[in-house]
Symmetry: C2
Subunit: 157 residues, 2 copies
């Protein structure tokens, strides 16, 4: 299956080192999404939503290992039990806050992507679809409490 | 960018007609994910998580329109303000419940995909990353309350 960029995500993060590892660690960090002109007509009604799901390409990632040591742990874990960027299909997913839309430019907050990230899709974030209660989070259960202070390093470069 | 299937999702839904339109409308509906053997080593530690984010291909969708009338509305809306399956990159996203893993087979609940759907990625669902509070949901704000009783029809066939 072939995928194509429909826009570009711009953020303050030119390099993996020092980048927040999830939007929860990027609270308040602003960025923009430039949607290519041919797709801008599909943005109508999007400004009614406060949060968006962005799907994008981990464009600096190459190859993958099925066991990885995540940023938030010291043990190797199964790749699919992590959010590591090197994956068989290197698709990233982030829930971001939408501040406003100026023509084809989305102004967003809580960005955790690299500058220049190719955008694949925008979906409205809807709690009834996208959030669950009574959640268990395995090895992350302890580690995730520290996510707001963790940053990326060069292990996935 | 080229994407490849890493497994196949099996559900009771052989056809779009009559299918629930979101996992919230598929409460209790069981399915399985057959992960191809070469990727099964990446499933370790996944069984600690109660919920997963599945990314997959809307494999029956062809083409797209930038304005669509969603299942839950009567007005045409911008495509990116909807979850319609016909998209420039036809990637679907569902949060499902994980019951257990038998070797390479994930037993899941709350499935809303077609049988035979190609799997692209599995990510652990983590509330700190994937859910937001104080959410506004635009045109869906009223419509979404009815999602549990709505079903697909053939408009996106």
């Amino acid at each position: 299956m072939k995928m194509k960029a429909i826009g570009t995500i711009h953020t303050p993060f030119a390099d993996l080192a020092g980048m927040p590892i999830q939007p929860a660690g990027a609270a308040g960090v602003s960025g923009t999404v430039d949607v290519f002109e041919e797709y801008q007509d599909g943005l109508q009604d999007l400004d009614g939503f406060s949060h968006l799901v962005l799907l994008y390409v981990f464009h600096r990632s190459e190859g993958y290992n099925l066991r990885v040591v995540p940023f938030m742990d010291k043990e190797p874990r199964g790749l699919f039990a992590t959010r590591a960027p090197k994956r068989p299909n290197p698709i990233g997913l982030s829930v971001v806050q939408l501040d406003r839309i100026d023509k084809g430019v989305l102004h967003i907050r809580n960005v955790d992507m690299l500058d220049g990230t190719p955008l694949l899709d925008i979906k409205p974030y809807v709690p009834e679809f996208d959030s669950s209660a009574d959640v268990r989070t395995g090895w992350l259960a302890q580690a995730r409490k520290t996510v707001e202070t963790r940053q990326s390093d060069d292990r996935f470069r």
